[in-house]
Symmetry: C4
Subunit: 291 residues, 4 copies
């Protein structure tokens, strides 16, 4: 293995081998977050992403002088170039480049560098680089055995388990918002100059209200509109309880599913309550089998 280094002139096959080894090592660095070198690489990368986000935020401040803006502009180009190189390297080193490109992470990586084209054309669209922040979620891939990661998984599981309930709930919230938005448009309308200028705008108001955000940019002015809004708010008040109940229940189920101690029957492998003496599927004694 190490003999290839001692030779001055390398055969084609040896060159390929060196390249492969380099590619392999790069692959481990860039993709395998569990290895020490991969973790180090990912941490540096995250530092760079956070730094680039700070640059983006400061660069957007209206109080910047042209000179400072120019400095930030250059920093942005440097950072973006690094991310482009990183993306190309990732494609190069992966054994199945298409699979990487079409994976969720691959798409996020691509979307994070695409806005550079807008940067070149001085278009405001280059702020789409903020999508880069999604790459920070990779932190949970780095610290797998961490308490935070476990809890993240637990939260993720609870949310996935309640996805159907939440969807049904959202269906009704949107249905209610459209209905109430339409009614408010009829009673408040364009002529009252209260902001209910169209049905979509009234639906926007209804969503603002039912979610208890309540900006106040659009508010009812007629007596009946206020009455209708009051009913809607009280409804929203009861409705807000539903997603909470859903998630609480799923968390409870997830928590106690894990911990439900069971005794497995030695014969039929059926699960029994931990305090059972006989298997409830085949009637054989449990204690004996376990011992």
């Amino acid at each position: 293995m190490s003999s290839s280094k001692s030779k001055v002139k390398l055969t084609k096959e040896q060159k390929r081998q060196v390249r492969e080894r380099f590619k392999r090592r790069l692959y481990i660095t860039m993709f395998e977050a569990k290895t020490p070198v991969g973790r180090k690489f990912d941490l540096y990368l995250m530092g760079l992403i956070i730094f680039s986000l700070f640059i983006l935020m400061i660069e957007s401040l209206p109080s910047l002088t042209p000179t400072t803006r120019y400095v930030f502009y250059i920093i942005e180009w440097v950072l973006s170039s690094i991310f482009v190189i990183e993306y190309l390297l990732r494609i190069y080193v992966s054994s199945k480049p298409i699979k990487y490109i079409l994976s969720v992470w691959g798409i996020i990586d691509l979307l994070s560098i695409l806005p550079i084209f807008f940067l070149a054309f001085y278009s405001k669209m280059h702020y789409f680089r903020i999508i880069r922040i999604l790459r920070l979620v990779r932190i949970f891939k780095i610290f797998r055995v961490n308490k935070f990661t476990q809890e993240a998984y637990s939260l993720y599981h609870s949310l996935v388990a309640s996805i159907y309930k939440i969807s049904v709930f959202m269906f009704f919230v949107i249905l209610l918002s459209v209905l109430m938005g339409g009614l408010m448009y009829i009673f408040e309308g364009r002529e009252n100059d209260a902001g209910f200028n169209s049905v979509p705008e009234s639906i926007y108001w209804a969503i603002v209200t039912v979610t208890t955000v309540g900006f106040g940019d659009i508010t009812p002015t007629t007596d009946f509109g206020k009455f209708l809004a009051s009913i809607m708010m009280l409804l929203g008040y009861a409705i807000i309880a539903v997603p909470t109940g859903i998630v609480s229940l799923e968390m409870f189920k997830y928590q106690y599913k894990e911990k439900k101690d069971v005794a497995t029957c030695g014969y039929c492998k059926a699960t029994n309550p931990i305090d059972a003496t006989y298997c409830n599927q085949c009637g054989s004694k449990l204690n004996e089998e376990t011992e």
Copy 2:
């Protein structure tokens, strides 16, 4: 059966039979969401409803040119005519038309087409067509075995089970809102020009506040008013916990009631899981005892 088609001249009885068969087939199409043809009909209908809602929304935009508005006006008439024909057909094909007309779905169907009269008179009231959106709830009748429908039923059950608690809670929220609204009217009053112009308007403010919506169209200006509002908000903060607790508990009960079915052993009276074959305390067969 098929012989009736071959004859040129049909007897009165045969005509009635053909009509009956046609009516029966239409009934299945329009009412029986579980049959393939019925499901297909309902899906097309829902597509039409969603399309008509989009037309309604766009038509309300103030930026439309008179020409575009005219086009939308014609589309609306076509769609409305379809829904009128559908409603009349539903009455025609159902064996008990009165029962259909007075059913919840029958009333919603009627309310969805009634606003056409306002459309004829150029009144803004024709936007009441938005009630049409309620017909989309029929989606849960189409996909009965679906996971979404099961969850919808579970949510529905939990809400129905907590209807008494929620009502009592709402009684106290409204009572508190009226009381606080009255007090705020006394201390803020008309003269402060802060929006507390009457007791009903102050109650509206109290509901906006206690539900944590907080539009900000009416806000206290006096020191004592702000103090009273602060107390009310802190109260509302504690109160918001109540409906959540109610719904969470009902969901929990619903979830674990389903699973709580137990089989009691005939010998030792120990409780076993419902799917157990042998008692887990004494090992005797459960099925025999139950029979």
Copy 3:
């Protein structure tokens, strides 16, 4: 009994007896909500209270003409007189008048009629009559066996059980609000004209924010103020979970406490789990005792 009516001239003793009987009957009518006549009286009274509240609300509308206002003024005097007579009668018929006057209901009854004096002096303070709405809580005394009343009791119990936790929680919410209000006053201050004119006003803003009401009458304008407000809102977001968790838990405990079947020992009266065979306090057999 009925002989007293047949006599023209009554002795002093007989007069007293008649008076006592009349008083007793009135007492049952006015205080005993469970008797048919008492329930009827209370229902009429509640109707009158609700009517008087509607009068109060309408009377406060700024758009009333002087004539209408005058009519409402007279109605108010009539209603108020009825409530004064009712209050005096309640004192007259109760065997321990002082006890009634100092009871919670007695104080509410008194506070409901006191604002009449302000009515006489044309002071706005007469709107304090809105306290009358508290008398509607008596509805739960009338319908004792009702499902609503049971749920009201269950809610009441859960809230009372969590009163210590809620108090501790409120202590910290107020502490946080005062602290954040003070900090916001330092960084936003009077000079920014953003509404943070004094520490109490800043505390009012902090309460508006932490309870997620968010009127928007006072909002941070400086960058650091916005940063501080963001932290506070995220904190408030986590904090809002606490009262919900408290009440949910108490409801859960109340629900499952009721249903926890217990076996009481025949000797020592100690409560045992329902599946216990021997009392866990005195060791005597439970089954025998129960039978």
Copy 4:
């Protein structure tokens, strides 16, 4: 012991002993909240802190006359001096002064008196004295056996137990806020004059929205911005359920962990309540087996 008082001239050793005794007594008074004298001292101190907070609040009112302000100014100096003396005494009497100074309470005590320097320079920074309010948390040290203190501990425990979950949740809320803030900046931007002047300001808006506070100082004006905001609010509506579920679950676990202590029977190994004397399955004495 008491003989030292009777002597006129004290030896050096005796002087030291008197000083030590005095120091010891002071230490008990100032640090040992459980002793009667310590509790009394702490209660007086808290009264003084609350009084000084009221002075601070009133002093900030813009409507004060110069004379009143001057009076408050003097009161502040007196109060501050007392707190300085108290702090110095605490350092003097504690056996390990450095440990006290670097403890959480020591730092809070120091921060509470430091703003006096700003007071001397007429700087607004002297309002940092509001940090003093944190010293009121000591109330839970005074009333240790109190029901409130127990509940405070229970709440504290539940929050600490859910700190990982809440952190993960906050990570995603902030990530979502930054992402949405960036997108809103692109679509609303500076030119619309709606307040989305920079990315940090848009992130501030996103936090205001996702936490359902909704001040309304910055609101979307473009159609696409309103659409994006609607999606964000609906997301936030589902998200708000998560911390509630977390805390509810932790409270549930804490509650039922406490009660889950069981005594296992030495003979039949059945689980009994911890306070049981006899096993409820076989009737044998539990205490003997445990010993």
